[in-house]
Symmetry: C2
Subunit: 338 residues, 2 copies
């Protein structure tokens, strides 16, 4: 098959690679209908994570089940499925506790930007739609494989509650999804920290009541004013840098929690502030499977339209251009079609 690969920082190709095959009886092979590029794919692209030359890249996709292993029972060939980026058996102690991203049989999609993807623990991982979804729903369903569920997780970890104030640090696709999640959970005030006009627009469409374009101490002062000096009831940190974390803790009220979902790079939580102000830190790799049934219902009912984060669609053969567009922030998130 053909799939997107990375050979070195900045070197993205779409080329022939071996077809994925059923390796374990619990596996399934999914024919990819749509994949996409994640903010975290930019870490190796920018050389900030190690690269294994020639390996496939991409962990988000939706598609049609092409083949299943002998132990797969609930997933059927021909099903249209959402593939959570982290695969899980959904039966181990951690899955039962709602932490599917720490499953004892954890797997991860390896070629979501390719023609086919292998899914381990297919029965535990995959969620199928009832029949083939309309084309216009594909972007929103694809968003559930990672970005929307990750934004949702940030809101859950931060303890967003009806009537409260939530601040979202980060205006990437995850941050925007976090805005949507906080609004869905009933936050009365959702403050999006964003300085890019196109992103501000989506944030507002997703339910942001306020947008703060300023960064650092200036932005923190504005949020302090918006929250009457008390601070936010819940803060979603959706970047993963130390600066974003610092802002998150600066705007969080005493007793609140910073929910973090940006893969941390050089982050040092401000322990003394956490201690003095009783501000907690929670979150991590999103247990996508946990949220999928609920999020799927919200998409199908039209309650949410998370596919709006895709502002560029390209054929997979132009994946390299998709990476460039995201790296240069010309695109928020790129959808790739086989």
């Amino acid at each position: 098959m053909r799939a997107t690969t990375i050979h070195a920082p900045g070197d993205i190709r779409f080329e022939e690679v071996p077809d994925p095959t059923i390796e374990e009886p619990t596996d399934a092979i999914v024919k990819v209908v749509a994949g996409c590029i994640c903010g975290s794919d930019l870490w190796p692209y920018r050389g900030e994570n190690p690269v294994r030359a020639g390996s496939t890249i991409g962990h988000e996709c939706v598609g049609i089940v092409e083949e299943v292993g002998s132990a797969v029972s609930s997933t059927r060939v021909g099903d249209f499925v959402i593939v959570p980026f982290c695969h899980c058996d959904n039966t181990c102690a951690h899955c039962v506790a709602g932490v599917q991203s720490a499953c004892t049989n954890l797997g991860m999609t390896q070629s979501g930007q390719g023609e086919y993807a292998r899914v381990t623990q297919a029965d535990g991982s995959l969620v199928a739609t009832d029949g083939m979804p309309d084309d216009h729903l594909i972007p929103s369903l694809l968003a559930l494989s990672d970005v929307m569920a990750t934004g949702w997780h940030a809101a859950v970890a931060a303890g967003v509650r009806p009537g409260g104030t939530a601040v979202v640090v980060g205006d990437g696709a995850v941050g925007l999804s976090g805005v949507l999640a906080a609004a869905q959970m009933g936050a009365e005030r959702v403050i999006a920290m964003s300085r890019h006009e196109s992103r501000q627009e989506i944030a507002r469409a997703f339910g942001a009541t306020d947008v703060v374009a300023e960064r650092g101490e200036e932005g923190e002062a504005i949020v302090a004013e918006l929250t009457r000096g008390v601070g936010a009831d819940a803060v979603l940190e959706c970047v993963g840098t130390d600066a974003a974390m610092s802002t998150a803790f600066a705007v969080a009220r005493p007793g609140s929690t910073v929910g973090f979902v940006g893969v941390p790079h050089g982050v040092e939580p401000p322990v003394r502030r956490m201690f003095q102000k009783n501000i907690g830190l929670a979150g991590g790799v999103a247990p996508v499977r946990r949220y999928l049934p609920d999020l799927l219902e919200r998409v199908l009912s039209g309650a949410i339209d998370p596919g709006r984060v895709f502002d560029l669609t390209l054929p997979m053969s132009e994946a390299a251009e998709g990476y460039r567009a995201m790296d240069e922030r010309r695109a928020i998130k790129v959808l790739l079609q086989p």
Copy 2:
């Protein structure tokens, strides 16, 4: 009056200092009936925190109200009161949210190891008993001014729930109080990490079902075994060192929370583990006032006997010996009488 003072690391004196006076109309002066030495007093004693030569030391006490300011209405002269180490108005946004330790009018007891102590925000801070308590209750009431409430806060922050497994890292008076708190909250299994026999004994009396004497990786492996490889549902970090924090995160199950109440010294939370395993960190300075009414009821009903952590009682004039005894771990916690 006479009070315990610190002049330099290791230099504790009991000497004449100016009497505390009503400085604000919301103040009260309390005649100390009993004070005590806190594990956190050992930081300056050991030179690990800066020392202002000649300043009074001690933030835990109970006593009788001697004088009140003109704006004090609910606290009366003659009341026997528990003095929470952090004073609060109990009406600001943070107090109302249950974070009295971040009160906008925060104060702190300055001469709890002296004959008199000034309490700011007396109405918000002080909790009086109904009449004079029996002498035998004094140690347990004194424990409510900090250590028991702090252990309780660790259990609350860690999310201890009925039927779960709680691990307590640290066998100082706070850790032992944490064991008592976890047991009171209905944890089915309370694992105390303690290598000192006298502390193990109190831990068991307080409700520990298991005691792990080993430290570091060895101790972590034993807890892993005790929790069938899953990890603990809740972990109380009651020390404040990086080693204790590291053990806390090592034994916490994915999706759980480490509740920390030990004043952090050189602590670097393991961010990557937190992220990968979705283990949160919450806690901080205990909002003592929040827990006081409930804890007082538990002491008066005989449900808890937190005063057991005091294994040495001295006159205040021998405070220096009390510090030595705690520094050398000859005593768990020292009660001082004026």
